[in-house]
Assembly symmetry: C2
């Protein structure tokens, strides 16, 4: 089983970037000398360099070195050799397109299967699922495939948002969108609320953080899963 | 120039399906004997038959006959011969995939260029833009292309939603998502609020309804466009 930390969001309201995850990062990457950062999702269109600087500052506060994948001449080799990888959030379509363009999707899978510790936030967490098809992002670019890493045997919806009963907006709720996903696809989906993360290790997938998560299975009513539950049977 | 009525949403809060558009539908399709309905976007996974029934009931209240495209043996021929077409909302990825699968994207373009009146709501409006890349929907299926009808020379974001200043949610706002779109793409985007529609005719594109719309251009600050404005220069 792979080793992964998959967070719904990088940042909680009123906090610094990765602040609430700082203690987790310290433990998760404790045996890693240098983490490779994948900045391809470019939130708000930020440059690779600026995004990497932001991540490096946050990792420095956890006592861990971090370097952007775009700084390597041979990105595939860097990923294969790496012992720790962090993929930041932003636009999932752009992230997946760039991973395929640089032939890194398979390299990532190999590296993680060989024991590299993988951390994701938001888009970086979404791609740990079977496909990117439960992303919330706009299709700003056309990727060659929607297939992603499959570190976990289901799909992930990051930034999961409960329906707002006071809303007068008629756009689909998140739950309706996932229902539409299940009118065509069969894999389960976990709606991961902000402040929650999945910890994958030793044949276990655990829900962490203070909140419960919402589980969606095809042709079943969605249900809540309490924090610290084991999700190993979800597939 | 084509003839089109492109609404942000089918339904306003507390109203029946297409209720607020009833007077517009009467005028827009006044010279059309039978409107062809495209139910492929299947909101919430509803069947083609049920969705067509819903649309037919609403059109009956406007005194207009409507029939589902899936009822025709030769869908391409039906579209080419049609004088009026209505595409309902739902999932844009599914809609676009089905239009390409049935080879209807080009048939629609031809029909509209030859004078067929085209009405869309939500996903049906999104596909009237140059590409579907400013949809809000989940990528529940992989379409062969993101290119759409191009009835208007820009992109449309239906159900446009202003940022909620009280929100503690860290998912991207609509404005941030469109900014990410413009980090890669150059065409303008109109954020069409619920209750607004575009009326395309006689070399004019007019904004209708009570609300203003938000216009996004690459490397410019977004701005508001008042209702009844002419958008013919937006490209």
């Amino acid at each position: 089983m792979s080793k992964a930390l998959l967070a719904s969001t990088s940042t909680l309201h009123g906090e610094e970037y990765l602040e609430y995850l700082n203690p987790e990062i310290k433990i998760f990457f404790s045996e890693v000398e240098e983490v490779i950062f994948i900045p391809f999702a470019r939130p708000g269109g930020i440059s690779h360099d600026k995004y990497t600087h932001l991540a490096a500052e946050a990792f420095k506060r956890a006592g861990i070195k971090l370097r952007g994948i775009h700084e390597f001449d041979n990105m595939q080799e860097a990923i294969i050799k790496s012992k720790g990888i962090f993929t930041g959030g932003g636009n999932t379509f752009l992230l997946v397109s760039e991973l395929y363009r640089h032939k890194l999707m398979q390299a990532l899978q190999e590296s993680i299967q060989n024991g590299a510790a993988y951390m994701g936030t938001s888009a970086g967490t979404n791609i740990a699922g079977l496909t990117m098809q439960t992303t919330n992002d706009m299709p700003i670019v056309y990727p060659p495939s929607f297939k992603t890493l499959g570190i976990v045997p289901f799909n992930i919806n990051p930034h999961y948002l409960d329906p707002d009963s006071n809303s007068t907006h008629k756009g689909e709720t998140r739950e309706t969108r996932i229902k539409e996903f299940h009118s065509i696809n069969t894999q389960p989906v976990i709606g991961l609320r902000e402040g929650s993360w999945l910890l994958v290790s030793d044949n276990k997938i655990e829900l962490k953080g203070k909140l419960s998560a919402r589980i969606f299975k095809t042709e079943k009513l969605p249900f809540e899963l309490e924090t610290n539950s084991d999700l190993s049977e979800l597939n």
